[in-house]
């Protein structure tokens, strides 16, 4: 789990992390991380899933998603945060599916099967 921006609101990612831990996942939280940190962590930790808190501009999130995809094709990525409708549409155009959870928008990447 990482935050793509430098906005430190931690409420969202820690709630999600706790829910995942309760469901039996091991969660590695790397906090505010730039694209390179996220890619390195995804590879080094050999994760099954990448979670992104994308509280900022959608381009920063897209860069992270694309770079992770480049090194770990097919790795599922999910994200949540303050995502305005036009940004959600941009993500949908990339093949990301958008769901709404109880408290905030949550986006789940459904990778192409290959």
């Amino acid at each position: 789990m990482a935050k793509t921006g430098l906005d430190g609101h931690w409420r969202g990612p820690t709630i999600v992390a706790r829910a995942l831990r309760d469901a039996g996942f091991e969660v590695i939280m790397i906090g505010m991380a730039n694209t390179d940190d996220i890619v390195t962590s995804a590879v080094d930790e050999d994760v099954d899933l990448v979670g992104l808190n994308i509280g900022g501009h959608i381009d920063v999130a897209i860069r992270s998603i694309e770079n992770v995809q480049a090194v770990r094709p097919g790795l599922p990525i999910f994200a949540g945060g303050t995502i305005p409708p036009h940004a959600a549409k941009q993500l949908e155009a990339l093949g990301v599916e958008v769901y709404l959870s109880a408290q905030n928008i949550c986006i789940l990447w459904m990778p192409q099967s290959s």
């Binding site: 906005d7 430190g8 609101h9 990612p13 820690t14 730039n34 920063v60 303050t82 409708p85």
Partner: protein, 543 residues
């Protein structure tokens, strides 16, 4: 015997069990004599002044800012034109909160984020653009130093621009903030100075304002930031006064400022006004009661001018929903109403697009209009403390204060407010509440209209997020190069050296900060000094 649904225990957000109705005998014994006091009289829970909003309407005071300094300037002027009666200058979070210049690698890696939630102000030249034409002598300005490590820069740059424009600092009105709850509890920065140097900065600002800016509120503790991180209303009260005690104890230790004047300076605070608006109104009343009590018992201060707490209030951003965003206009109105019932002096209403982005121009205007409708059409300003004397309101006010003191005492047992931040104890309290609140919504125990019930949206309105401008990073990069190329380099180097020397000693850093502003030292250079001298706070939570 089987219980009917009406027998089920009901609790307020603070965990106080609520009766289905109240009578005189419910009012706690120690509170009964207070009920007969008048607004403006000790213990002040009934209000700041007997004539209340008749003589002084609450200030319409909205968070504002994005993009380039000129974008922010334009938005502030728009709000003032629409009737805002003070203004708040937001700084870019990436650069401002972290004291980075825009060429810092962590900022470059997120260049599109720059300017998203505040204007980029790296030197006094940027601040001057943002302040251009603003009525700084007659209106009430928030210079944007909400973050502890950023505040000395934000304040000194604002004051230096004001001075250069011929304003007398001795008469300049406005407010700082320097709030620990913001970046040490709620919205933790990637890097920031540890809490003890932060306390020193705040005490330095209090001293400096006491000497040179008597009409400026030097620091303003924001219970808001604790509450929107998850603390309950009683905890919000407890944490705010535990924080105030850190400031006043430090000022008393220094002995450089008259304690009563320092207490007056620290007595302009902010709270969150959330959706359970009756409890929130009681919270504002309890806050005034507690402040008077604290000053009297701990510091022997009972001067009415000091013991009368002044409250700014912001409606709860986290209660604004992504779904059916126009419903948030109703939520904003109700939360504002709670604040006004509580007798606050100043108010900001979150935008109806809060869950999507920073406010669009229209959402911002609506936040002002909500307050104007309350002020001008409802007649709410005619009578002070309209809920005063209600069995329920008085009981809940007293119960909240009692419960808040228990939380205050718990914080003292943790070693005090700053120690409870350093250890992560407050984060754990907030985190537990966050999760319970989330699960209440997931399970449907807490119904939120349009989110987990009544989901069909028949509204034809499409509301999208407001993304500001897309040239903030590029323009800031150009302007940084420009200032570094054209400033008087020897003067800037010498001012920076003096600032570093003062940071390393126990001198007040503000005079050197003022000199640094005049010499056009940039934000990132100052941040580098801080990082070198003070190091980095050991963040107790992993986000």
């Amino acid at each position: 015997m089987q219980k009917s649904p009406t027998d089920k225990a009901v609790y307020s957000r603070s965990g106080i069990e609520l009766k289905s109705f109240y009578t005189e005998s419910d009012i706690p014994q120690e509170h009964r004599s207070r009920v007969t006091s008048n607004p403006g009289d000790a213990p002040y829970h009934r209000g700041f002044h007997p004539s209340g909003y008749r003589s002084k309407p609450w200030r319409i005071f909205q968070l504002s800012g994005f993009g380039k300094p000129e974008d922010e300037n334009e938005r502030i002027k728009f709000l003032l034109k629409n009737g805002e009666t003070g203004f708040i200058m937001e700084h870019d979070r990436n650069t401002g909160d972290h004291c980075y210049n825009v060429d810092h690698p962590e900022v470059v890696a997120r260049r599109e984020d720059v300017g998203l939630t505040g204007a980029v102000m790296q030197s006094i030249r940027d601040t001057a653009i943002c302040m251009d034409g603003l009525p700084i002598g007659s209106s009430f300005g928030h210079a944007g130093g909400a973050v502890v490590q950023h505040a000395p820069f934000a304040l000194a740059s604002y004051w230096t621009v004001a001075k250069q424009r011929g304003f007398d600092l001795e008469k300049l009105p406005g407010t700082g903030q320097s709030d620990f709850n913001l970046t040490y509890l709620g919205c933790v920065t990637k890097e920031q100075i540890p809490t003890q140097p932060g306390l020193r900065f705040n005490a330095d600002i209090i001293e400096f304002c006491d000497r040179y800016l008597p009409y400026w509120v030097p620091v303003s503790i924001a219970g808001y930031n604790a509450a929107d991180t998850g603390l309950t209303p009683d905890q919000e009260l407890g944490v705010l006064f535990a924080n105030a005690v850190e400031y006043l104890d430090e000022i008393r230790r220094r002995g450089s400022v008259d304690l009563a004047r320092a207490a007056r300076a620290c007595g302009g605070v902010s709270f969150r006004a959330s959706i359970e608006f009756i409890e929130e109104a009681c919270k504002m009343r309890a806050a005034r009661l507690m402040w008077a009590d604290l000053l009297h018992k701990r510091y022997g201060i009972s001067d009415p001018k000091v013991a009368n707490l002044r409250i700014h209030c912001v409606t709860a951003g986290s209660k604004m929903t992504y779904q059916q965003p126009l419903n948030n206009i109703v939520r904003g109105t109700l939360m504002a109403l709670g604040a006004v019932f509580g007798g606050v002096q100043s108010l900001g209403v979150s935008g109806y697009d809060e869950a999507l982005s920073i406010p669009s121009e229209h959402a911002h205007q609506m936040s002002v209009r909500i307050q104007q409708i309350l002020q001008e059409e409802t007649g709410i300003s005619n009578v002070t403390d309209p809920l005063g004397g209600s069995y329920y309101i008085e009981t809940l006010t007293a119960q909240l204060a009692e419960k808040a003191w228990i939380f205050f005492d718990e914080i003292q047992k943790q070693g005090g407010y700053l120690a409870a931040l350093d250890s992560g104890w407050l984060h754990a309290c907030a985190s537990e509440n966050q999760y319970q609140e989330f699960m209440d919504m997931e399970r449907g125990d807490q119904q939120v209209i349009g989110v987990n019930c009544f989901k069909d949206d028949g509204s034809p309105f499409e509301v999208d997020g407001f993304m500001g401008t897309d040239d903030a990073f590029d323009v800031a990069t150009q302007r940084l190069k420009e200032v570094l190329r054209t400033r008087h380099e020897a003067g800037a180097a010498s001012a920076l050296k003096q600032l570093e020397a003062d940071c390393r000693s126990d001198a007040n850093i503000m005079p050197a900060m003022m000199e640094a502003m005049s010499a056009e030292v940039t934000l990132g250079e100052i941040g580098d000094v801080y990082r070198d001298v003070f190091g980095n706070w050991d963040t107790p939570i992993q986000t």
